[in-house]
Amino acid sequence: MAGMRRPEAGEAPPPAPALTIDALGRKCPIPIIMLAEQINSVPLNAVVSVLADDPAAFTDVPAWCRLKSHHHVGTHELPQGGWAIHVRRNY
């Protein structure tokens, strides 16, 4: 399953997001639509962080990355609930 991924010990820390999309409180597919609209506004290889708390986003952002050949860098739990889902622009 497209689950949580935390950096392994010794692994380089993930690059800081170039853009944060606040989709908290928005239901899928809205977070995905926001991501698709804005990914091309960051430079190649830059990271977009999608903040979302709809449970569907947890699965759907990584699935979108697979379909669109972008890279799902990792998913981090937010203290207030929801996730920061990091996506690297591949092309």
């Binding site: 239901k27 899928c28 597919p29 569907a56 699965t59 990584p62």
Partner: protein
Amino acid sequence: MAYFDAASTEPLHPAAREALITALDAGAADPARLYGAARRSRLLLERARAEAAEAIGARPDEVSFTSSGTQAVHLGVLGTLLGRRRAGRRMVTGAVEHSSVLAAGAAHEREGGTVEVVGVGLTGRVDPAEYAAAVAVEGTALACLQTANHEVGTLQPVAEAAEACRAAGVPLLVDAAQTLGRLPVPPGWSVLAGSAHKWGGPAGVGLLVVRKGTRWRSPLPEDERERRRVPGFENVPAAVAAVAALRARIVEAAEENARLSALVDRIRAEVPRLVPDVEVVGEPVDRAPHIVTFSCLYVAGEAILTELDRVGFAVSSGSSCSASTLRPSHVLEAMGVLTHGNVRVSLPRGASGADVDRFLSVLPGIVRRIRESVGVRSS
């Protein structure tokens, strides 16, 4: 209207309708009593049981009629766990089993048992080696696996799982709800569960089959009915109708499977060609003959269902917005595929190629219009 939701419930088979109408009178008396009408009722029930046993490859005394497929699963899971309590309290299940299996597992956990969930790959299939390793762990009392997934159609490696269970001395409960009457029952199970309305029988009848030699104890209060396996007065007319449908479906299966499977192949091939940004999910070949599921990016599943209904198509969706809960389908989640924009097409017996063609002709416009309404352009 084109009804494409057979995986939820299959329309009543003509053989079931005919048997039901006859049995409503002939099977009305209490089969546990001794007078003539009761004996006739019992005869009908026992004939239905014997015929079901023959269709499944079991002995009549192994077969019980339940009040639903869900009840068959609940009794099968909890009764086997109870019967095997001395062997351990560990249950193994696949991640994409029907909610009745997972709910029975949750009930088992509340009673202090443990449940290990074996994950699935992108197509929704459990890995046989991973499943075998889970089953081999000391203290495993029961393993559960479906024949085919109810949401994406993927066939599970039941034969391999059964072999692993045999080697480990663990009973295997097979949930055959989506394939009974369509595909042969894979060998090697200890407990089998099925649901009549999925194969064209009436609602309110399930099958629970417990192989001789499998330890099983009812988790419910004692009752004399169905050899003490299932509590409550038997629904003889419905059981008779259910088995009539099962036998009729098995006779038709080879021809109808091939026909429906070709229609599913057409949908699997055409949808990604006609609609941009679509993912067809599930095993393309190793699948139930009648189920196909796809997800459309940037679209709410509920919106597609509503629009399809408007033009005369009944389909279902695993997207959270169209389900009764706020969570998306656990099946799609476990597979790691898109959960939004999800459409499941499941073809009933007799589904026509013309209806499938019309579905394929209206779908692209519907998806395009919904996308445009939320500002997403697609080619």
